[in-house]
Symmetry: C2
Subunit: 285 residues, 2 copies
């Protein structure tokens, strides 16, 4: 068996106002920040942690986030950089189901989707202020989307067959129809050395991911429990949140986990830090 | 016994960014909005609902909110417009303890303070993101302030004697030392026709106030559960909140209460609506 390798797959960038990135602190003004997915090539399988955004979706539903995503920054192109195809992915692990973290899920119809039970429930029944965040429900064919794609686009992007939706209770046990879901509660070790850790607040069931590596300290992917090093330094959460008090505690948890495991934090939307990270085809191992 | 009269006491204005007034909607840009207190002159006593901001405090701790408050817009001057002095006030009712709603409490050392039990607890132990909101603790002499006034100002503004602080459990039963507090839980009818109604979310123990009048429909003072008519129309809460989901439900509750009682809504920080409201010495009755 080989060692675990971790690849960052560049997914382009989006724009938010400084008051969204740093809740009630700002300063105001546009901030362009990266979006990326993480491939964990583990002896027990290939796991994709988050899948970035679908450019067509963002251009249609949230054009004010000004997506920049070249042909080389699609998930398919990024996987090709390391000689992989969609069918090589065994499972997707979603930190949460905001559109910029699950937009590529639909490219992997045969992969199992792993997420927190509370997150699937939240995506199915969002608060009014979460509707844009949860606007890309293409990861769950049975979910009624508040922003259905027009027929022309749907033909191109929808999975070959759309299965009948499950009733809500069954869905929450088994996941949406037509996809294999594995719903976790609490912290979970997915495979040896791959830990999905509860960091709720940004969304109801948000999780971060810690990966143990053979030749270096573990990497702790914060996902949106902490956008950037500056957010952590200021202990300032983002303006998008379901429960700000939990979000603050989750950020504190990340800090404490990093200290406890001597882990390196990799932030989700941090232009400065991102410039320093290894990007595919380079990898951490 | 006379009829109940309701006076709006102008307290000047402050400035916030549009992203604070309309959470994650904006648009960006400064919005100047009014702050005011409400005198309810009721057959059973004179009640002050909120007490505006203390200009010195805002200039010292939150100067970026650009306070504009003339000598005629202090609470003392506003009460004088209707021939009243601080000693004529029997009780203060606080919607919540953000600095722009309790800044004048200290001017009424003999008045009882009525508030929700959860609100006093929140002011005593705020979340990190609530510290500026709860920065003026002069209403509660026993509370340790994170922003203590410098000695010179303190001499001018502090009550004549600062009583020893109570221990936390006693404080939460009895209120801070040196002031008579009446802590309510649930909706409460303070005196006949004067209802303190739970609308949490903006803060943990936020309440709105409904006043029944003899010659017109009741008035429902939203306080910060709804800054403005536009917030209600968009069902968009403010960027300052302890629990956004509760805040949304409280806004819906206000809408439903207004419909149920045919009540007129008076918003807390609404430049357009405020221009239409009667201001002291004029009154509603």
């Amino acid at each position: 068996m080989g060692k675990t390798k971790v690849y960052l797959l560049d997914g382009g960038s989006l724009v938010l106002d400084g008051f969204h990135v740093f809740w009630n602190r700002g300063p105001a003004g546009e901030i362009r920040f990266p979006c990326f997915s993480v491939l964990v090539d583990h002896p027990d399988g290939r796991f994709l942690f988050d899948t970035g955004y679908d450019r067509n979706h963002v251009e249609r539903v949230l054009p004010f986030e000004k997506p920049l995503q070249s042909a080389g920054q699609t998930l398919t192109a990024q996987l090709a950089l390391i000689g992989l195809r969609a069918s090589d992915i065994d499972a997707i692990i979603n930190s949460h189901f905001h559109f910029d973290h699950c937009g590529g899920n639909k490219l992997f119809p045969r992969a199992k989707t792993i997420c927190h039970r509370d997150e699937l429930r939240a995506a199915r029944g969002p608060e009014p202020f979460e509707r844009l965040g949860y606007s890309d429900l293409s990861f769950a064919p049975g979910f009624p989307s508040p922003f259905p794609a027009p027929p022309a686009e749907a033909t191109e992007e929808a999975p070959e067959e759309t299965p009948a939706p499950l009733e809500l209770p069954a869905m929450l046990e088994n996941g949406p129809a037509g996809r294999a879901f594995e719903l976790v509660s609490g912290d979970a070790e997915i495979v040896a050395g791959l830990f999905l850790l509860e960091t709720p607040g940004h969304t109801a069931g948000h999780c971060s991911l810690m990966v143990e590596l053979a030749d270096r300290p573990p990497i702790l992917f914060t996902a949106d429990a902490c956008y950037s090093a500056k957010n952590l330094e200021m202990m300032c959460i983002s303006g998008f949140h379901r429960d700000p008090a939990k979000d603050v505690r989750s950020m504190a948890r990340l800090k404490s986990l990093a200290a406890e495991h001597s882990a390196e934090l990799i932030f989700s939307h941090d232009p400065e830090s991102y410039a320093q990270y290894l990007k595919a085809p380079a990898f951490y191992s």
